[in-house]
Amino acid sequence: MIARLLRRAGISLIVLAGVLLIGFLMLQVIPADPAVAIAGPQGTDDEIEAIRRHLGLDQPILLQFVWYISRVVTGDMGQSVINNASVSAELLRAAGPTIELMCAAMIWAVPTALALGILAALRRGGIVDRLVMAVSVMGVSVPVFWVGLLMIQFAARTRAFPIQGRGGPLWTAEGLSHILLPATALGLILVGPVARMTRTTLSDALHADHVRTARAKGASELRVVLNHALRTALLPIITLVGLQVGTLMGGAVVTETIFSWPGVGRLAVGSIITGDYPMAQGAIIFLASAFILVNITVDVLNELADPRIGSRS
């Protein structure tokens, strides 16, 4: 089992290195020379050359990459070319709201989706089942930004909820009312796919031999569903939900932009559009690493939780 985990971690490390390489290349191919940018419009050629030496830009590119990695690992991702703020500090400030938004979305969406999926699996072809299938195909087809825009229109008309920005910590009424719309919009992306996966996995589990054994023992239908079918289906479902973090993250980028939520996604989009390359590569590396970390975590949890996997290696 440990060997399997290590192999998986190894692959993830390779991917992470790839992400860093892309981040590094991002800074290499940028149209503006960072030294010129730092020197400012009044900078003389000598000054630019000095900054260039100072930044190590005259060194071989491989060496620069190694330096770059060591800097990123120590948390130094450079400064914004727009306002000179430290990229790491900005990212740390934006990470909280993003995590907050994603958690708020999952907290309502995952249980809702599980419940819908279970109901659909129990009554295949019933009303809930049809509803889940319809909602899920619409959910993966609808542009997230449209959902956001519709909510903003609705909220503006009813003046019920704030539509821009973050209102402070979640335990305040102000904070809660601000997160309500973005969290709803973001969660909606998850409901369809997760409900659908729950439905499929659970209906397979309901036809499993051991579920029939449980019925033959005289277990009640509720017990059969909860203790036997759902219990075996839960692990694959959790794994699949874990893998939806990618979808959620993509949705967060759009949601944050629409609702002016001060998170990493909005930071990434904003910095790309304004040409703030250090900030853009920082945000992208941050999002990609977070995604990879979550995936490894899901893998590890899955390995630990499933008694069957242990013996396989």
């Binding site: 031999d209 054994t213 033959a216 023992k217 005289g218 277990a219 009640s220 075996t232 008694p307």
Partner: protein
Amino acid sequence: MKHMTLPDSVMTAPPLLTVENLSVTFRTDSGPLPALDGISLSIRPGETVAVVGESGSGKSVLSLAVMGLLPPTAELTASGLIFDGEDLQAMSKRTRRDLRGRDMAMIFQEPSTALNPVQRIGDQLIEAIRLHEDIPTPKARARAIEALAATGIPSPELRVRAYPHELSGGMRQRALIAMALIHRPRLLIADEPTTALDVTVQAQILDLIRDLARDNGTATLFITHDMGVVAEMADRVAVLYAGRMVETASASDLFESPEHPYTLGLLGSMPQLNQRGAAMLPIAGTVPDLRQMPPGCHFHPRCPFADHRCATQRPDLRPLAGNRRSACHYAPLLETLETRA
């Protein structure tokens, strides 16, 4: 053979299970699929009845119908489905459920998938115990260990903590047998319990089922396609073909003189009997598509004795001498063969 040792009281006792004119049809996308057609069968307490047939003959459907475990797409009709004097069809779901696992239990074909993969063996046994008996968990655990020990599982006190994948196929089947027999049910349905096991383990499991059933006074409905297993286990035999019963007789009579060509064929594919000099009679062809049954006798396309009458007229299951029945126009076969010759 075992039937010789059955006491007379068994032969005269009222039946434990009576199935009368049972039909099961599945609703499918491509129309209704008749799986069982007019099956009648009874089992007396302590008796072992084997239901024999190829796959697709409906023998597993029969076991699920008796257990009340048919999927919702199945439609069941029967003029009688009586267990221990009570009408199973008229029973509430709740009462029927209370019967399952306590008064009638089942062992399945695939021990590797029939156990819950993410639950320890002990917990699955404890669940089975506590579903029908209100005793505290530690006591149930002790019972579980006892029951595992009775099936010959070595160091059962360790095995209760194991997950199914940590046991061998034979041990899993032993655990399933322990689970099925834990409440000393009056009826045990064993659906091909040895098919998925190694040949060496098969005999041990058969012995185990027979011994435990005898000790508990349990009647056994034994579903199999293997005539060797039938010879080993059964007092009486019912042969199914394409959803219908084609012959039923005591095991000794059946092996002595089969009265349906299909039974002859099944015996022909049993290696031990060939050595006795019986003519090798392999069954040609395959079980027909249940949706497109041939007219007349369902077996006639594969039957070496079939003639025009078999192709047009459906034979009823009719009584023959010696408390046996056959659904062949030409039973008793021996007389027919002699007159034809």
